[in-house]
Symmetry: D2
Subunit: 403 residues, 4 copies
């Protein structure tokens, strides 16, 4: 009798999805795969509740999209039922190209952005659904005349960000990341084909920006989280090296496919079918299970790193606001070298240095726009007495085994 599917969600209570193409897409194996891809990779090593998946995030973003559309329509913004369905499809599928461990392994396993793979999956699904995703794909790519629809899917204030900040702060328990998403949505409007925020929502946007910044340093780039993720990247770099040097690793065929090849932006489209087929079957389980197998491998680097991750013997990570001095790095390298009697592990593989940068809000990219009661529209950065943080903040790190 009821024509809607209801999902329970601790964050929003209930998410309702109309039966039809949206529900069918959710049922599709491509989308079900997202059940096995955690939103935040190894963050649960620090925040044990952060086990939520891309599946749940995509449903959440869909939920916010539905609410937003209702608000916009109540303000006489013209959105046809076809456009409504399309923008809902676009947000539902925006992350479908994410691979195992989300961003962490995005460069290490396959050097193509998840957005590009999302686009591949959408095209594939479009064939299967006989062209019904045409408009959704246009919107996703920013090629549709009503630009604000694309902005709802991808901009500095899109449904993606609203949901992930919300959801990540909920499941990590970092309550300070909580944002006033419902208030922000109520303040959304469209002006001159652009998404805008009503004047009285300005403090909510400030709060949203500061929350995002806080989540970066307190969660996404938390030193222990970063350490675990760097170690994971290191394992798979090593595995790739070994496989490409001819060693057989007892991993799944689909994982082996990605270990044995180096995709680049130039060549990936030629192998598109094989790539998708393998990618569509790859998830967190393949990765974590392979760590267990690596633990017993004869290659010391591989087994040392894998074992350390599994049993949570994480490396120490030091952050610094300025580049770390060569002298200090050398001292650390020496200490590590002297203490670990495993002569066959290269220090370069376990003393890791680099830099993390964070730009919570960009004033060069398309800005968030404020609509004043007077009818004027101004970019966020000139409308607030809060100094918008638009410079890149850099943190240099050195990461190495506890000695």
């Amino acid at each position: 009798m009821s024509r809607k599917k209801i999902f329970n969600d601790p964050v929003y209570g209930f998410i309702t999805v109309p039966y039809g193409i949206l529900f069918d897409l959710i049922e599709h194996p491509y989308f079900q795969r997202l059940r096995r891809i955690k939103q935040l990779s190894l963050t649960h090593y620090v925040y044990p509740g952060a086990l939520h998946t891309r599946f749940h995030h995509a449903l959440g973003a869909l939920h916010l999209m539905q609410q937003t559309i209702d608000v916009l329509k109540s303000k006489d913004v013209q959105i046809t039922p076809k456009e409504e369905e399309a923008v809902c499809i676009a947000i539902l599928l925006h992350d479908i190209g994410h691979g195992p461990f989300s961003h962490t392994l995005e460069g290490a396993l396959i050097d193509i952005s998840h957005e590009e793979i999302s686009a591949l999956f959408m095209e594939e699904l479009n064939k299967e659904f006989e062209g019904k995703l045409d408009l959704a794909i246009k919107i996703f790519r920013g090629q549709y005349s009503k630009n604000f629809l694309h902005q709802l899917v991808s901009s500095q204030l899109d449904m993606d960000r609203l949901d992930y900040l919300n959801r990540d702060s909920f499941f990590t328990g970092v309550s300070e990341g909580v944002i006033g998403y419902d208030r922000i949505i109520k303040m959304l409007d469209v002006y001159d084909n652009e998404l805008v925020i009503e004047e009285k929502g300005i403090y909510s946007i400030e709060k949203f920006l500061i929350a995002r910044r806080l989540m970066y340093w307190q969660v996404y780039l938390h030193k222990t989280v970063l350490s675990a993720e760097l170690m994971l990247i290191q394992v798979f770099k090593r595995a790739k090296q070994l496989v490409q040097n001819g060693m057989a690793l007892p991993v799944s065929k689909r994982l082996n496919f990605f270990l044995s090849r180096n995709f680049t932006k130039k060549n990936y489209l030629s192998d598109r079918k094989e790539l998708l087929e393998n990618f569509a079957r790859l998830d967190d389980d393949d990765i974590f299970y392979s760590l267990k197998l690596f633990e017993e491998n004869i290659d010391s680097t591989l087994s040392f790193l894998a074992s350390s991750i599994i049993h949570r013997r994480l490396f120490k990570l030091e952050y610094s606001n300025i580049p770390i001095e060569r002298d200090y790095v050398d001292k650390v390298r020496l200490k590590v070298a002297s203490m670990r009697k495993m002569f066959d592990i290269s220090i370069d593989d376990i003393v890791l240095k680099g830099v993390e940068a964070n730009l919570p809000y960009s004033t060069s990219k398309e800005e968030i726009k404020i609509l004043f009661k007077s009818g004027k529209v101004l970019p966020m950065s000139v409308t607030t007495d809060y100094t918008i943080q638009s410079k890149i903040v850099k943190r240099y790190y050195l990461c190495y085994p506890k000695v």
Copy 2:
């Protein structure tokens, strides 16, 4: 059997108070009076849930104090049982000198700060409790050797602020004002007799500062809230004028006491006993009930203002970042004058202009201090890549009857 009194609190769940002097102070009529003083004056005209009282706030601040003391003791900060009790008394009573409608009428009814009256009440209670408040009073006044105890009661990061931000955002429903009070408390420590925050709490402090700023503009200085409060002040200024010119107003004796006199910092101590006696019986009910009586008064200004407040016909309020031009003010005055046929209301009494200023964080006052792992202690403003807002933000306003 249980030796603690439990209060239900929607904000923290339960607040437990040990039987003994703390409980006895809560039972005292001076403290029970706070049940009849709303924390946020007329804010409930905009945020209907904001009916919480100074009574509940004081209990909440006490609760946070207890948690903080536990944390500090677990970090080997020396706090004796006597000091613990004293600092708890100090925070419990910190607002006991608030009069009806809290800050709103603080200047209009009696020109002495609530802190000074709190101090009077404490001394009075100290007599009644035979000197048991000696240490609490010393701490409250900043005269005790362990300075950090005073800072817990009154500083830029005290239990007062932590509770009121929390509580006000809870009851208004402005979820964006929520702060990570529990995390902040866990990060507190004492260094060199000063309250400090551990390094990893730095983002929580930033969040606390931005939340406070947001609450100022979104709640405390919300244009409709300010309008209602300006009108209330105006009523009582007028009432005072009338009484002092010899008109008898049918208000309670205690209210009449304050309408007929002008206390100043210089003279109030001489009438101290009478002042306290009357003050101790004065609460929101006296004020709101008198509005109902004023509504029927023959003085047009008094009745117009009182009636407008009661029936929520609030004045329009315009904010501006620059001083409002004289020309514009004159135009508004003319419009108001022409439309209201009540020749006997002075335009000065109903066209109100002024300025509100907000300084969310002061770098000139004693700063919040950060304790680094290295052992270094630095003031907040130099430790963060977030640009601390330490300049005063001013908003000019013009407030007048809707025409």
Copy 3:
């Protein structure tokens, strides 16, 4: 631009009300009066957060009604825009006839139920709004053909109950009273012109019934709450007696109006205009302020009771599952008589005995109905393996000054 008014609500986040008659009714002084009538009378003496008003409750019930209508329409239940508006008006105004201190003084001040006075107010408003409330009144009275609309306003599972359980548990902080209102609403449907619950909502209904029962004993009939309310009733019974015996009490005219008359179901319609006029201006402030005046009255009973309430020196209340024995009552009366040296207070006025009954769910009244997937509809009481509590639970009490 936006055509909806937004109210902040800590319980639901935001409540949106379309501009038009609903908003105009909210602005009306009759409705604004509800801002000054606490939902739970003196319950805040035990649960300090319980200061919420009938105003907020009515908005909340409206909010749930809007959600319910959306759900029903999505299930193809036919509801016209006119019916939608009418049922929203009916729920918005369902409590508009509540007097000060809600249920507590319902019998003591005026012996007519609040439902009847609500109906009077609705008719008055209908005149003012030129017949636009016709359908709402029909629905409110159960005289409209679509019976389920009335059930949404008044039944064992109406929007009133859903909101008040929710709201009362929220503001008291008794989290155990929380119900799955959103899930219940999603499970609502209409079958054969009757409101029904889908089969899989059955546990949510059980939970709703047990939560309601819990709230009765833990909050509404909490012994200290009951004691405070019995004392309040007693004060006004005494005041009425004194006034009707010719003593002038310095209360407001409107309060005096009700103290000096005894309305009955038979006579109240004849004085309807005067009654409404006075009732419309009466609120909690009149009552509490009069207590302060009574405190200084020469009648010992009046001043003793008033003073005890104001300073929260509440009577002891003992509950018993069986009628309290006459011997015990006599002993208590003797003790009270001996200890209080005020010979002029009648023991009957301060040793109070009676019985409170609670029937959380009635199987004799129209039952909650369950709709099975098979299409069958059965009353709740025969569909669950949880034994529905449909017998009246009685608690006898004795209430008297602490001796």
Copy 4:
């Protein structure tokens, strides 16, 4: 400086663990393994948020234990620091013997209860920690003189139940399962060496019992959850059969160990060392990864079941209050047989019938006890006017592929 480790927990905010043996146990690989064992098996197929682990649950139960001990000590219950540590260890480790997919596979993989394996692990750890777990083990086994300590770990009102109801309702989003755990804890006391609840906590206990019952039918035995879990059991029964018939399955060594043997209560102690070694390395990943391998197996039953689980093509499950009639079962079997052309799958392996029973509260086992103000102690079932549900509720089911 701080001597406590802080864990973020979305349920309780923060969990603090003192450094020392408790922290060391958490760091141990045996305990870290619980990070990879979901609390609720495949429940996330219905409630996508239910991905929380035994690791988090154990920390949560520890947190509640610490709060309980504080409450008991404030009521003058004698608990020595040694006992406090021991009871904390006991609750921390109470689930350490859970295997992959918790209860689901408890019978299918190894026919020994998780409690017995928990005991084995504790003994092993006791050796490693040189006898420091002696007292914890005594308490866990109910062999210590202070019986109430055992009751805190295992009884009808233990910290285990309080945490899992809380946590499961939180992560599923079934808010109706929420219990007043903090209120319950505040009402705990000890009388005559037994855990008791103060009289005024009686409604909270009722609520706890009804919430537990609700969670059973709405979550733990939800028809789709049960279907997924029955299918999982079926896969591993089949795998065991195949392995024991000589087929080599490409599973991990540790999983193979359990597939190839049938442990019984009688024989498991003889192989204790090998059993523990293998068990200690087995987790959810082994199981789910093996499903992916099974999907490609030549055995049709194995591949059909595995593939159905992975891609969430779950069987239909019908519940009935009475045993399902043989005729109906036969009809279903025929239909399934006719539609699936795979002659090599035995109908017995995919048409599953059985019964689930639920006893939310037992009056035969040691009851929850209520302590009255009078000093009397009575079992819960005789003290409430709510009819305690102490009879077993049975639901018969039939589960089969959608045809």
